[in-house]
Amino acid sequence: MATKTKKEIVIPGEIISKNNEFLPGDWTMKQGDDIIATRIGIVEKYDKLIKIIPITGVYIPRRGNTIIGEIKDITMNGWMVDIGGPYSAFLPLRECPGFIEQNDMENVYGIGELIVTRIFDVKRTSIDLTMKSRERELGKIQDGMIVRVNPHRVPRVIGKEGSMINLIKNASNCYITVGQNGLIWINGENLENQAFAKRIIEYIVDNTITEGLTENVEKWIVENKPASIKTVSKEVKVEDKE
């Protein structure tokens, strides 16, 4: 196996910059001339900004994120959706394409069903969702498999310009939609292909903090691919870039 080296993790309260060298970004706080981390994670520097990339904990919702949520309740003007974490998310009727009658709402998105949706607005204690989009595949999930991962591992599952996600899709012959909130939808022609895609994702998630992840994943796929899966080499479009 290729050598694994872990990136440096900092813990809450640790000083990550001194003497006003940087400006405080996400999950950091100024303490006099120093900047401390307020969350366990990896330090990242962008020009003059220093921030923490969290590696554990709940999902942080951002406008424009594609996520997967579960319908919890139906009200007069929309659906209450559980997207994980301590947020209440709401999908207003007016944010759905087409005309939906009030007593038809349960048929469109029923309680307990999963939807691929987009975050439209983030308020202090609530989130608004939308199903309107030009390119993204938003809608109800009918078949396939759902995997839950730590939302902070999602960028690694997608990879640079979608490289990792394409690797998974090609190796398992499945369509994969990644929700930024850590829910991933796998859709393939049979259970075995889907189960394999799930295992690749679990491997990635267990090894995100190491260097050389892509080579390790490629090697793992070669070592573990069931004979029954035939890869069709196709160019799959990148779903998410965030």
Binding site: E70, G112, E113, L114, I141, D143, G144, M145, I146, L191, Q194, A195, K198
Partner: protein, 278 residues
Amino acid sequence: MVYKITRKNVLEAVNKEKRLDGRGLLEHRPIEVKFGISNKAEGIVSVKMGKTEVVCGIKMGVAEPYTDHESEGTMMTTMELLPLSSPNFEYGAPSIDAVETARIIDRGIRESGFIDFEKLCIKDGEKVWSIFIDLATINDDGNLIDVGALAAILALRTARFPEYDEKTERIKYGEFTDKKLPLNEGKMPLTTTFFKLGDKIFIDPTREEEGVAEGRISIEMSKPDKDEMINAMQKGGDAAFSAKEIEHMVEEEMKMFKKLNTLVEDELKKAKKGAKEK
């Protein structure tokens, strides 16, 4: 929180007789046993099946015997579903799951004759030893009955008496003897719970799989002589079982018993070796 789509996946996997983690229907997850995690208990063990972990502690006390069993020791089994181990467990009075699980495990041990209660007598009609079997969940990923039952047996097998001062009639807690509990090892009961989904039967479910199962039957079996003995049975859940299904489970349980028996003896040998090497 098991999504509808996950229920579909589990159902399909079970019907195809190949579960999502690649196991067969009658296959256990990896079982891990750890002894000696606390030196305060007269006996203690942690058992893991996959990600499920249950700790069993044995505590001894002295008490008056029951009036209808004047020369026999007593036993009490308790199961704590710690809120630490799952977002679904709450504080408060023990839930029916905790109570039922403890009672099933208790019956199997009591009926089997595994513990020689008469040897727990200190003074006829006045003083006897009490055995407390205390189970606590550390992480719940399904199959708590079987993991708890296995932990109870392993803890009992490795427990020893604390020092007892005959004059003051008090236990010297913290001081242990080398004397093991009076057990009839040949009568050791082992438990497997069989879960039903459609017409398929499976064991050792994850929490996801257990959430989808329609019903279950727990069978506690021992082999005191050439005949296997069933010491406890419990059907749980709404499903209805055919007599044929139940007979099939009993047959499978005999196989499971052999497997678990070997596991127990192996783990105890390992533990003894480890203790000698220290």
